[in-house]
């Protein structure tokens, strides 16, 4: 898995606007499931894309699973022209999402996020109810077990508050 401390330092260091979603967000909420890659939803503003590209350049992002030598160039123009990218980097696998099925883009996700403190940074992660909503909206059979755990987690959090 991508070393979060190093990755968060890079993104926060450049002031990138992003929300952590997917398995790593689930872990932050208390999930016991292991995940291999990090999913983030990033703001698609021109300035933010420029910051994102600068932050990740030291980690040489490349299309995951693609053969070497493709005319892929990690640049603001590439990110601007695309939307969602599944990438491999020198420190681990990373999915960059401009939009999430059922969850919208950064602006909408940011409204459904919570700030958590870790490694000396305040980082936005998708809220647990919205993560469940997004997983349900995606409608993928492989997510059903994940949703079950997240809903159980929600119940446990409620139980602990009583």
């Amino acid at each position: 898995m991508i070393p979060l401390e190093q990755f968060l330092a890079a993104l926060h260091g450049r002031g990138v606007d992003f929300v952590i979603i997917g398995g790593v967000a689930a872990q932050a909420h208390g999930s016991a499931r292991v995940t291999q890659d990090l999913d983030i939803c990033y703001s698609r503003t021109r300035d933010n894309i420029a910051r994102l590209v600068r932050a990740l350049t030291p980690f040489a992002p490349y299309l995951r699973g693609a053969s070497r030598g493709l005319p892929f160039q990690w640049s603001a123009a590439t990110v601007q022209a695309g939307l969602n990218f599944t990438l491999t980097t020198t420190i681990g696998d990373l999915d960059l999402l401009g939009e999430v099925t059922g969850g919208g883009g950064f602006a909408q996700l940011a409204q459904h996020s919570v700030e958590v403190e870790a490694f000396g940074f305040e980082t936005r992660i998708i809220s647990l109810p919205w993560l469940i909503h997004v997983k349900r909206a995606a409608g993928r059979p492989k997510d059903l077990e994940v949703i079950a755990e997240l809903e159980a987690l929600e119940e446990e959090i409620r139980r602990a508050k009583r």
Binding site: L4, V24, A28, Q36, R136, I147, E149
Partner: protein, 125 residues
């Protein structure tokens, strides 16, 4: 809105605005005890009160409608097998501790995979 959402939103708005409870209360022309009681979950604020307090911290409170969750029989079945003891253990940890624990587990998994690969290579004549 559940009972924890109002306090959490108010606390987050105040922290992001780098305000003390007193400073926020002054900006909202109210008493510090009002802010303190809401954040502590001792008082349930009306939506209008929460909007006013969040606004005094420089934010806008937006409410959205989300589809009601329908019971899914498959999810309900899976839920029976979730090991809740692990979840309860995790909930006692901080977010950073949870992430560090998962990173350590992942590293162990990778090390095991490498060891298995080496062992298989040794067995191959």
């Amino acid at each position: 809105m559940d009972n924890g959402t109002g306090p959490r939103l108010l606390r987050e708005a105040r922290h992001r605005a780098a305000q003390s409870q007193r400073e926020l209360a002054q900006a909202a022309s109210t008493a510090q005890s009002v802010v303190g009681r809401i954040e502590a979950g001792l008082t349930s604020p009306t939506l209008a009160t929460l909007e006013a307090l969040v606004s005094a911290a420089g934010f806008e409170l937006q409410t959205v409608l989300v589809p009601k969750r329908r019971a899914d029989p498959v999810i309900t079945l899976y839920k029976r097998d979730v090991d809740r003891t692990l979840l309860r253990e995790n909930l006692r940890r901080t977010v950073e501790e949870r992430w560090r624990m998962h990173a350590a587990l992942h590293a162990q998994g990778v090390a095991l995979q490498r060891a298995m690969k080496k062992a298989r290579a040794r067995k191959t004549p």
